[in-house]
Amino acid sequence: MSVSDWDSPLHPLAQALDVPAGKARTRHMAIEASVIPELLRLPLELYAGRQAKPCVTVGQRVRRGEIVARGPDAYDAAIHAATSGRIRGVADTPLPCIELEADGDDATVDPEPLSDWRGHSRPELLTQLAESGLMGLGGAGFPSAAKLEAAASIDLLIINAAECEPLLTADERLLTERASEVMDGITILAYLTSARRVVIAIEDDKPEAIEAVRVALREHPFSLAVIPRGYPSGSERQLVQILTGRQIPSGRLPVDLGMLCHNVASAWAMGRAVIHGEALTERIVTVTGAALLRPGNLSVRIGTPVADLLAARGMNDTLLAGIRLGGPLTGRPVTDRRLPMGKTHGGLLAAGAEELTPAGVELPCIRCGACAEVCPASLLPQELHRQTRAADLDALAELNLVDCIECGACAWVCPSRIPLVNDYRLGKSALAAEAARQAAAEQARTRHERRQNRLEQERRASEAAREARLSRVDAALARAKAAKQNREQES
């Protein structure tokens, strides 16, 4: 124990998935610079299916760090050239991206640091983050500036360095080698959120990183929480529970409880962006897997095609069971090796069969319950599976499918090799489509009701007007009659 240790009691997950200890392969390998490919594909994809709009012309020469595309919102993360070269154009395959031909000089724009950053206003700092291309590097990719804008004053800032995903060691190496730079980033984060407490959470199987953090914390008022290993301890909702014992209510965010979670790599990038004025053009990636000859932790330029990265590290295709962008459980399968590395990808796997969720012929579910045991959200995965196959949307809503965090633990343990997470994604999109359909129907209904109301009101108004007119006529007649009587009496 030291002064900096997190002093609230931990609330470890009752049970969690034990993933194979494949981290040993790369955990002691220092971060090294990776190849700069001849052609980079800078992804235009932003958070939740939105896209950045290119702001360069075909043939334009750019330097590293120059903005090549921007999102629709002010706080969207900008997209930068990851090396110097010539813009070849915009492509739609293998995904929407700007193609950049590297010129080999790797010339960089002059950095514009905010070295006296405490003297700048909050909006200025947030703009700097957005202009530097900051987004959540842990996987979700939510724009950092937008996330921080909504969290001006929080109680607890959680720096997520759990790195529970098997095989990946990028965050671990980052902390081991650059703990003090990470602390700089955390200092900025704590300042921007006015966080009263800051905790850095690491799984207990990373002694080197833990030691590095302890040393760095001598100069910072943050605490360190060493949490028990177990997948998915690094999932935001689970981590909040482990640290505080509180659960984020369904459909809400940590910020609703006065907390904010930030990935450790994002915190580091934030320090680089503000203090050094560097745009986010590279990130640390664990390139590993049984089929890879020279695994390692590489500083990879955003936009580097998977094929170039794998070729640079040597691949044995006979051992290859599958390529994943990200980790073995939550990573995205790569079928087209032209796909580029994005900001959210902390891993690239050329995986052997043992390292992936077992594939093969799907057998019927025997309701063994292994999935329910490992589900961190305490859902009933086998029931969800049955109801997605039956396309029973009401049942899926009732079973709280929306609370599935798609961690993949259920599919990992399934003895019948059922691709459960695929089912849940399909189920979720079906639910979303149904909700949209109902919202549209509801909108049409309100529109109709409003029209009915309006017509009714118009009718009433015209009736009232007619009655008023009639009463005026009656009054006039009465007056005329009275006048006539008066005249008759006078005469």
Binding site: R229, R237, P415
Partner: protein, 340 residues
Amino acid sequence: MTRLLPRRAGTASLMLQVVLATLPGLAALVAFFGVGVLLTVALAVLGAVLAEAFGLWLRGRSIRLGLGDGSAIVTGLLLGLALPPLLPAGLTMLGAGLAVLLGKHVYGGLGQNPFNPAMVGYAILLVSFPVAMTTWTALPQMLANGPAGLLDAGAVIFAGASPDAFTGPTPLDDFKHREGLTVAEWQAVSGLGGHFAGQGWEWVNLGFLAGGLYLLQRRVFSWHAPVGMLAALALCAGLFWDGGSSSSPGSPLFHLLGGATMLGAFFIVTDPVSGARSPRGRLIFGIGVGILVYVIRAFGGYPDAMAFAVLLMNAAAPMIDAWTRPRPYGHPPASASKEP
């Protein structure tokens, strides 16, 4: 602390482990009741596999894949272990076939059946052929003359020879109809009392217990259902145990190591398909089976009760599931939420 859960073996491998785990119990059965046990088990497996192939063919499914999961073999094996060792071949195969077809395929195959297939087959045979199903090989004669050999057993099973020379009541059956004897008197008179539970059966049960503990250690199933069942059975027997009067329904140990208790606890109530889903649900499921087994044994018309107890609780499993749904992350406690 966090309990770390490793990856599971594939379904076929799970089934193989179940088969292996029955070996100690099977060996004890063979030792006491002769090779007829092996014949009956083999016939039951054969009947189940043929019915499985037929069912898959009728439903237009891949026979190779369907047989490959090993579930039909397990159904046949468990039924064969529960049947009297000298049951005529036709009945054994009929029971196994109906177990697979009426117990599983009519509901849509593996994973869809609400009832335990082996127990469906057993119950059909028991209500249809009560005499044959309660005719067990007699242990005292066997121990005196050596167990029925292959030829004798074959003659009874295949050729319909009269089994009378080998048969007698099981300890549970005899104990139930002991006509006013105290427990101590019954043990002295019947010679079926065994060392601590029932002659021969105590070893059979210990064999299945050993296999069950192996499966538990291999995490093929969780402890909840078997422990729930055994605890409930022992508790009931303990509550009604009066030290051995003439009306006593038997000591806790007699019930724990008698009849089909351990086979049921570790190989039948642990069936994930027809049981409850959540750990708490499985505990309740097991407790229900334990109570029903005791009630039927002590107060019902049948000497043993595993099949009926399990089938009744199978029917209750969906309701148990509705009661014991775990609270998902980020949702208010059950008292605040609506009825399932």
